[in-house]
């Protein structure tokens, strides 16, 4: 600590470092390009949260790593000096400072996360108080069926649609309606089934089953997700949403696609040897194209009237899979793809 020379005041150095760190952090937070395209309304919310966290993290990273590297260079052991250093054992105000600042940051992040999660629609799935009333219009059934697992569906008002649109019960888990859409049923409801190693998409009103997910852009889509054999996880990376498909329990995802295009659907939970090959696609159409796709496939499947309501739980696995036998082409594809 040579004091004889005139030096730049410490506060000025600190200010400069602070500014540089701030500038780099903001730049990196905005321009890290780590996340893929944003296709859902939830994606910007999640990405903004990540941007904030990345900015704070970059700043902390630079400060801490900078201090480490600086110490290693500036305070390294030199020459023959065998004495110990100044016995500084602590600095209570400093310790309070670096306990309090992270505490504020994480609490702030926590509150922000809750808000983002609410905006994403995370709070609507468990049937909060506003959902507890039971005067059903048949259209609303899909989102209003009593969540009690044991309650038989028969005895609910508007049975037909109810059974048709939500074969089991109202999902407990996942992402539901955003705060503005609470009480509004989704415009498109699709049942998703995960099995080793494929996704099946069933369009209940139209008797269509597909190995790829077709949805209209700009429409509120709800997926009711279940698994037949083991746990799978339904992930749309460009939508920033994911939900495990659980055997014996229903879950849901709800989203609005903002662009047309084709994007991957990925299984994210280890589901067996060919887990890596359990991929599919989501194809987002303009609404009129979507209608055309529906019509075409209704014709292709040979019936254009809604099927009888079927509760898959009452059927054995083979019975359940029978209607989909023609869809086994997907599995053959999958196998062809994965076997050398």
């Amino acid at each position: 600590m040579a004091k004889e020379k005139e030096t730049v005041p410490g506060s000025l150095i600190a200010l400069t470092i602070g500014l540089v760190v701030a500038v780099i952090s903001f730049w990196y937070g905005q321009n890290n390009n780590l996340l893929p395209e944003q296709i859902s309304e939830q994606a910007p919310l999640v990405d903004d949260l990540f941007t904030v966290m990345a900015t704070i993290a970059t700043a902390l990273f630079l400060i801490v790593e900078g201090a480490i590297v600086y110490s290693l260079i500036r305070f390294r052991h030199r020459g023959e000096d065998e004495t110990d250093s100044e016995p500084v054992k602590g600095n209570f105000p400093l310790e309070i400072f670096w306990t309090a600042i992270p505490a504020f940051i994480v609490i702030g992040l926590g509150i922000y996360s809750v808000e983002v999660y609410n905006q994403m629609g995370g709070f609507d799935t468990s049937g909060g108080p506003q959902m507890a009333h039971h005067q059903h219009h048949s259209v609303e059934i899909a989102s209003l069926i009593d969540r009690d697992v044991s309650a038989p569906l028969i005895g609910q008002a508007g049975i037909e649609e109810a059974i048709e649109q939500a074969p089991k019960t109202r999902p407990d888990y996942g992402i539901g309606a955003s705060p503005q859409d609470v009480n509004n049923p989704a415009e498109v409801v699709i049942n998703v089934t995960g099995l080793q190693y494929a996704w099946l998409f069933n369009y209940p009103g139209d008797n269509i089953t597909s190995g790829e997910l077709h949805v209209p852009a700009g429409k509120d889509v709800q997926l009711n997700i279940e698994a037949k054999d083991v746990i799978h996880s339904f992930w749309l990376p460009q939508f920033r949403i994911k939900q495990d498909a659980l055997p014996g329990q229903m879950s849901q995802l709800r989203f609005t696609a903002t662009h047309t295009g084709t994007y991957p659907i990925v299984c994210a939970e280890l589901c067996g040897a060919y887990h890596g090959a359990m991929r599919s696609q989501i194809i987002i159409h303009e609404p009129n194209e979507y209608e055309a796709w529906l019509t075409e496939n209704r014709v292709a499947t040979g019936t254009d009237q809604p099927t009888v309501a079927v509760n898959p739980q009452d059927l054995s696995d083979s019975d359940y899979l029978e209607p989909y036998a023609k869809e086994m082409g997907i599995n053959a594809d999958v196998l062809a793809q994965i076997q050398p």
């Binding site: 990540f50 790593e65 250093s85 602590g90 609490i107 746990i231 920033r240």
Partner: protein, 561 residues
């Protein structure tokens, strides 16, 4: 700070019969000396580190190309399951807790041995039995459902391999519980009489927190795995939805242990960090009490964050939010530790020895892992990256960059004490450099892979990710090579290295005040504390070489008499 010594009450039942020093063959059989057990743990676990490391190299080699072309997919799953299981249950936990915990705790508190030497030996020998069971499991094809063993996958995949895997983990868990009891009783009851709580080395504080966590969480894992074992073999329906079971219950039981297990693997390492950094920076640890209490805080909060592993599973919204907040709170005590170590370095006279390099490498990597951990703690972002390579990158930063770096630092730091010989410094630095470069090259690109859409635990992936994966694979090969200088260094130095003095680092903790390697009952007479564990630079008289230490001890002893 010299304290009056209470004359030792020599053994009531007298005669502990043992040879003057242990011969090599004593290390291969049942032995109740905590130092022998510690070294048994370390060597045993290091063998598994090598095995699990080779598994990882095969995994990375498979991932060099997007297709599944090197390994059969079932073999791939076996390897990924056992890589995780062995690294956790047969390397980090036994090395950090069993190895260094056993070796250091009695020495650091000035005791002759652990409170229950026989129980200690039994705890160790449960591990080879567990390893044998794991071997049987591998013989039958091994567990293939990930180290998490989620049902229903674990119920329908390779039942025999899965069952033996479960038995093996139950044995390790039992060993861990028994070890934890031993540590708590030893630290509470057997400190040398003059040692007050705030004169105890921070490693012992860390061991208290670790042991408490092991005691409270391990039994829950044991019961979860037992239920799984019954479901597989005896037709029970705990995790079979068609019988009224609930697969999410397993996940709660599993993560109630396995999240604290993360702290089991890092808390002892935090203890090691405090010892190594303070000694090699020649400066008192900054904020002793903050570091000691933050271990306990991590222990308490760490028991209430487990659901963040289940944000995309069957977890209702309120739980997702509650556990987001509790998870974020863990960052605070962890941050306190990081800042304290940086402040310890600041203004020190840092010797860039191998242990210090690894400790600083740990610090650098753990900061990154901690920050990515905070992002993972927030449910909305975690929903996107859960079960992706982002998570793989994160936990390798904290478990490889954290725990393994810490273990290396500890091995170099206490090598002179354990073997009585010095290691080779240049080789140690080469080892550090290769490890640091390899680790960052392997694990940093994984974050981007995960965010871009690559899930974990896959043998075949979207070709768009090939470039980054190749980078990871090359990095992992560097990591593989980095072991070579380490092995040469250890084997050569152990056999033919320069004789180590009793206290080559001029450290102040008690284990350095006895001979290297320590005598069988550690200290010739009950040690006397003449300084706090980190009082570097406090009294300039103290910093001469070891002769003075002995003289001082002698003077104090004569004063007492």
């Amino acid at each position: 700070m010299a304290q009056a010594q209470i004359p030792i009450d020599s053994q009531i039942n007298g005669a502990h019969q043992h040879p003057e020093a242990w011969s090599w063959y004593h290390y291969f059989w049942y032995n109740t000396d905590h130092k022998v057990i510690g070294i048994q743990y370390l060597v045993f676990s290091f063998i598994f580190y090598l095995i699990a490391g080779v598994m990882a190299l095969f995994l990375r080699a498979e991932l060099y190309t997007p297709d599944s072309d090197l390994l059969d997919p079932n073999v791939y799953n076996t390897l990924l399951t056992n890589h995780g299981t062995m690294m956790i249950f047969f390397w980090i936990v036994p090395a950090a807790i069993g190895g260094f915990g056993n070796y250091l705790v009695p020495l650091m508190i000035g005791a002759k041995d652990m409170a229950f030497p026989n129980l200690n030996a039994i705890s160790f020998w449960l591990n080879p039995v567990a390893a044998l069971l794991m071997g049987v499991s591998l013989y039958f094809g091994g567990a293939q459902s990930g180290w998490t063993a989620y049902p229903p996958l674990s119920l329908i995949t390779n039942n025999l391999g899965q069952s033996f895997w479960i038995l093996s983990i139950v044995f390790v868990g039992t060993s861990s519980i028994l070890g934890a009891i031993n540590f708590l009783v030893t630290i509470f009851k057997m400190r040398t009489p003059s040692m007050k709580w705030d004169e105890m080395p921070l490693f012992c504080w860390a061991m208290i927190a670790t042991s408490a966590l092991a005691l409270f969480s391990t039994p829950v894992l044991a019961i979860g795995l037992t239920l799984l074992l019954f479901d597989i073999n005896f037709g029970t329906g705990f995790f079979r939805p068609e019988m009224g079971g609930d697969i999410v219950v397993y996940q709660h039981l599993f993560w109630f242990y396995s999240h604290p297990a993360v702290y089991l693997m890092i808390l002892p390492i935090f203890g090691i960090m405090s010892e190594v950094i303070s000694t090699h920076a020649r400066k008192p640890i900054f904020g002793y009490k903050a570091i000691a209490y933050s271990s306990l805080a991590i222990c308490v909060v760490g028991l209430f964050v487990w659901v963040h592993h289940m944000f995309t599973s069957g977890t209702p919204a309120w739980m997702r939010m509650f556990f987001t907040i509790s998870t974020l709170i863990v960052a605070v005590p962890t941050g306190v530790k990081i800042f304290s170590w940086v402040a310890t370095l600041w203004g020190g006279k840092i010797r860039l020895t191998s242990p210090l390099l690894f400790a600083v490498g740990l610090l650098a990597m753990f900061v990154f892992g901690g920050l990515s951990g905070v992002t993972l703690g927030t449910a909305p972002f975690d929903i996107h990256v859960h079960d992706t390579y982002y998570v793989v990158g994160h936990f390798h930063y904290v478990l490889f960059g954290g725990s393994v770096f810490g273990l290396y630092a500890a091995i170099y730091h206490w090598f002179p004490k354990m073997t009585g010989r010095m290691y080779n410094e240049p080789l140690g630095r080469v080892h550090f450099l290769l490890t640091f470069i390899g680790a960052n090259m392997t694990f940093l690109p994984m974050h981007q892979l995960g965010m871009q859409g690559m899930p974990r635990r896959i043998a075949m992936y979207d070709p768009q990710f090939a470039g980054l994966n190749q980078l990871c694979t090359i990095g992992s090969m560097i990591l593989g090579v980095s072991i070579i200088p380490f092995l040469i260094n250890m084997i050569w130095s152990w056999g033919w290295g320069e004789q180590a003095p009793r206290n080559p680092w001029r450290s102040l903790t008690l284990e350095w005040q006895t001979t290297s390697p320590p005598a069988i009952e550690n200290f010739d007479e009950e040690p006397i504390l003449w300084a706090g564990p980190y009082d570097y630079g406090v009294d300039t008289q103290m910093e001469d070489d070891e002769e003075t230490v002995e003289e001082l001890l002698a003077t104090v002893k004569s004063e007492v008499k």
